[in-house]
Symmetry: C2
Subunit: 590 residues, 2 copies
Amino acid sequence: MTYTQRTHNCGQLRSEHIGQSITLNGWVDGRRDLGGMIFIDLRDRYGLTQVVFAPQHNEEIHQRAHELRSEYVLSVTGTVQSRPDGMTNDEMPTGAIEVIVDAFEILNASEITPFEIEDDVDANEDLRLRYRYLDLRRPVLQKNLLLRHKVYQTVHRYFDAEDFIEIETPVLMKSTPEGARDYLVPSRVHAGRFYALPQSPQTYKQLLMVAGFDRYVQIVKCFRDEDLRADRQPEFTQIDMEMSFVKSEDVYRLIEGLIQKLLKDALDVDLELPIPVMDYYEALERYGSDKPDLRFDMELVTLNDAVEGAEFKVFSSVLDGDGIISGINVKGQAEAFSRKKLDELTERAKTLGMGGLVWMKAAEGSLTSPIAKFLSEDMLSGIRNAMSAEDGDLILIVADTRRKPALEAIGTLRLELGRELDLVDKSAHKLLWVVDFPLFQWDDETQRFYAEHHPFTSPKASDIALLDSDPAAARADCYDLVWNGNEVGSGSIRIHDSDLQSKIFEVLGLSKEEIQEKFGFLIDAFRYGAPPHGGMALGLDRIITILMGIQSIREVIAFPKTNSALSLMDRSPSTVSEEQLKELHISLRK
Amino acid sequence: MTYTQRTHNCGQLRSEHIGQSITLNGWVDGRRDLGGMIFIDLRDRYGLTQVVFAPQHNEEIHQRAHELRSEYVLSVTGTVQSRPDGMTNDEMPTGAIEVIVDAFEILNASEITPFEIEDDVDANEDLRLRYRYLDLRRPVLQKNLLLRHKVYQTVHRYFDAEDFIEIETPVLMKSTPEGARDYLVPSRVHAGRFYALPQSPQTYKQLLMVAGFDRYVQIVKCFRDEDLRADRQPEFTQIDMEMSFVKSEDVYRLIEGLIQKLLKDALDVDLELPIPVMDYYEALERYGSDKPDLRFDMELVTLNDAVEGAEFKVFSSVLDGDGIISGINVKGQAEAFSRKKLDELTERAKTLGMGGLVWMKAAEGSLTSPIAKFLSEDMLSGIRNAMSAEDGDLILIVADTRRKPALEAIGTLRLELGRELDLVDKSAHKLLWVVDFPLFQWDDETQRFYAEHHPFTSPKASDIALLDSDPAAARADCYDLVWNGNEVGSGSIRIHDSDLQSKIFEVLGLSKEEIQEKFGFLIDAFRYGAPPHGGMALGLDRIITILMGIQSIREVIAFPKTNSALSLMDRSPSTVSEEQLKELHISLRK
């Protein structure tokens, strides 16, 4: 096909081009017939330019322009002219000019699109995903992917300047399921054998440290065959990095520099460094979460001391064990929360696994509450003091013998109330390192330990002895990066000693044979001079959503899948031929 | 683990640091016991530094140093001092200094490595791949991957500056096997259905053009489940790009700028632009190859005219049909090629599918040859002239009724002789665009056409009518980039018209239902204002090998697989549990 190619793009023309003959290629964004003339906004990625078909200028062209419809692709040649007085548009970069058309060609027609190409689209998401190539024409998605491009560039440049080497690790690797499920790829050449898609390049990046590359980075696709929660994707993108001869703090400094740059480049926001560090247990006690949202206060307060000796059964049973009584002060909301609303909150606490919720209202220097009669006046004033309550405040309290569930329940109430009462400063960027998670989690069902992060995480040097005596108490030398209440990255100092690595696998219940079969190559590698090393992986998709202030990661991925891992556009996954299956030595189960 | 972290790396210290107390972390590259002192070269990615354990400086440390072995990982603290007179090493960046050790720690020991960590390694490749993390310590592999890193950076920067947007396309996509086999991924959530890994992101990048992104680029992993030839990998990396509103020449200019930059950044070589363009048929006729190596001459000469009317049956049968008689002039080699060597060449021609090989030697102003008696003196002198032969030259001629096989056979002889006679200028970088390939290839076995490149390639505008009358004659608006005889990239102007695209699929023998089932989403997309567009994909792995002047792509990939698609290090592909298969709704065939 031959046609007149553009001399400029649709976002480029300014007053200085007036009088020039130019050619634009682009899409019809909208047509207006006004005063006998036809006006079209011609659109491309770079912007919009108004082009004018005027009968007094060229009758034949004006006639032909009547057939133009939205989303037609045109090549338009014309002369740049000033817009008439009063018709300029200061909000459009090209708003001072228009192009009077001397010739045009239709490069492609368009059927009527199944939804309007505009930000305020009323189509449901399934329809938009089916016609993703049209959805992606909407300005908001163009903007998201342009920002994503910018983020890639910042990441590339930052790590290059910091002497990191970008290295690609394999996509076809070995299946070693621990935790989430692997996606498998049957081998045609080796009957009955399978590759797995990486959940992360963890072992490879550690081997790159053993190989002496010192500093590795990669923007890399990872895969997890999970039952997808609301905002997960089967394939997702990580900024994956690893460094030799480092302590946690070295990783913090490096990543903080990156985040600072991302915020500056993307939003022109200055982030103050260093990012604060909080112990996992402190985060749980103060925010009821291992990824606290620090954009508002309403901290949790432990009330065990304040209610010591209470005869109220809910409290006393907690005080007898290792439980916790924890409250939040909902400032100034005593009046606003009717009995009905408080009942609703109590129901919510129950769905979060609590037996109930205690509420108190601060009034006349004391506290009123359905349970006030079970507590002494001293206790009530102790609670009031501990909660820094003033008249008009609402206090919510949960109590449970199991500390973590209780804290997480009230942490969830905190978050929900924060949103509901509009306490969250949406323009703020609050980051936090949450560190020293437990190394293991005990699973009652399977009666074994699982790695809280992954089995390559080093225990804290001081906790190595606990691996024998009390594995559940051992803490990991690990760190999560939390951004506005989202965990955006996770990392650790790794094990580099083959005996310690074997020991961890033993605690996880793997037999010597399983260890050798699954991870023998890594343990072998540690026998040939593995350096101390550590690193982390950041969730790129999530970071883009935070930078753009949006919720769904599907809005920052060009071709996302649905929550049931379907691509509605090309209808994958799809059936394949019997011949293909035969070549792969597999068959479908009946 | 706590230890003294480095203050400098092992490639950093110079005379200006003399007198400073510093700490290095690194590997023992070698130990020499000399004159009662112990010398160690401490190594990291950045270089080597000589460290000295001297008894007169610290007796205890000198004693402990006896246990140090190659590949131990150390933290060494000491004082930088000038090397003694005559002991400086100008070839080492740190050769002016050494570090006299005040304290050291062993961060990790090493067993004796299965092969020496040095460039001239005598271990076979399988052993090296099994211990890839040790293989990667060798300076040559470190250098390859460092160059690869540099290439990534050049690519990122170049396309960013050219207004391209980096966009990630899905790895889990739809299986539409055409040509090479897909790797499949069974879906757990959707029983009996499969994703495929992309052979290329072709359809997605075209949809990004439909979406209006205008200029797309991605460094992307692609997958092909082929019977691996000597130098292919099941997963490989492409620089994939696409542009809207372009002609072939626009793509040439863009890619040429990149290649020029790569050569400059990596090798400080200046590439003259533009890169010449050659028609596919001309490349075949002049070089017997669609990827000619222009680093030496020895061009093919078509002798059909020169031998017109010959009674020699081999020639006359060719002249009667559409065959070709083609020769090369092996300059000055008449003497060097004995009867025995010529017989070997003839055998080689036969294994290349030829009936035989005609040889002639230029001597005394004429040509001697076993077939001279069948040719007139005029014909012999005609051949001599056509071949620009001088006394002492050897002429080799093949003849076949099938043009392409004949040309490819003598093209192969040309390449082999070029190498054998050392005619190839190994320092040269000769690039070439080979363009206008046939659109289709007829396959006798399946009695159908296949797309020579892929089914999305546009026919040349002038050849569209041939789709009905003579598809085999239709040429594609496509282009290969050839670099020193390697095809390093392939691209085309694409079809953007839904009817034309359907037409191509029909020529390829797909039924209307198959077209809709496999590619309906793309054809639909073309109905909503698809812009004219084109692009290409460059083979990154191959480009690195050319820049490094090496043969095997396994030497430029961190963790490659063998020719039978095995990872010898982690032993993937591997068997998986029955439970995993059950979840994926598949079973192994008996």
